[in-house]
Subunit: 94 residues, 2 copies
DNA sequence: ATAAATGTGTACTATATACGACATATGACA
DNA sequence: TGTCATATGTCGTATATAGTACACATTTAT
């Protein structure tokens, strides 16, 4: 724990409290460093911390109406429908 | 201005500073009330305030990997490609 | 000309965020 | 049984957030 704490640049005592949910989740930057250190997906850890990456937020903010509509549309869609859209766009010819 | 301020529940002096960009943008709640009062799209005003609605964030946080991938895929997509996806999903048979 | 309405500047505040410092307690293991 | 790492408790603090309070100058209407 001390090693992880040192590598991500926080105090061991703080990390301990974070793990036990004793304190509010860390900042986005710290959460991302922790994710990398643990080999976890940053977006998933951020979600656990009740946050959404600033990078994604920026993308949304550039075209708020389009992305707001899209996300609300997909709110109840099953996982595989969203996956299909991702693939369509990736391989798509736009 | 005093009337709008009163209707959305803030001090006129504060609204004046907000308009002039003299202070940081208001909270999400206040921004949404202002949007309604002005007949504007809340998501657009929130974007101007450098924010993304908590509702959208919650949707993303429930399935972080899917939505993170999707949004990053669409980062450079032209508007009409996104629109097409929105319509596809809306009318879609999933 | 003057009373009312309007916008703005200055100062202040309460709560939350994101930790650090340090003392101490606990548990496993050699 | 001593010691090492980890766990927990208490306190402190700098920065950000989201405004309020009030005085004041200017404009507008009559």
């Amino acid at each position: 724990m001390r090693q992880v704490a040192q590598r991500i640049g926080v105090e061991p005592a703080y990390l301990s409290k974070v793990e036990r949910g004793d304190v509010a989740p860390p900042s986005e930057a710290t959460t991302v460093r922790l994710a990398h250190e643990l080999g976890q997906d940053p977006d998933v850890l951020l979600a656990m911390a009740g946050k959404v990456s600033g990078e994604l937020q920026e993308i949304i903010r550039k075209r708020p109406r389009l992305f707001a509509d899209l996300i609300r549309q997909l709110r109840e869609a099953p996982d595989d429908a969203i996956l299909r859209v991702v693939r369509e766009v990736r391989d798509g010819e736009w």
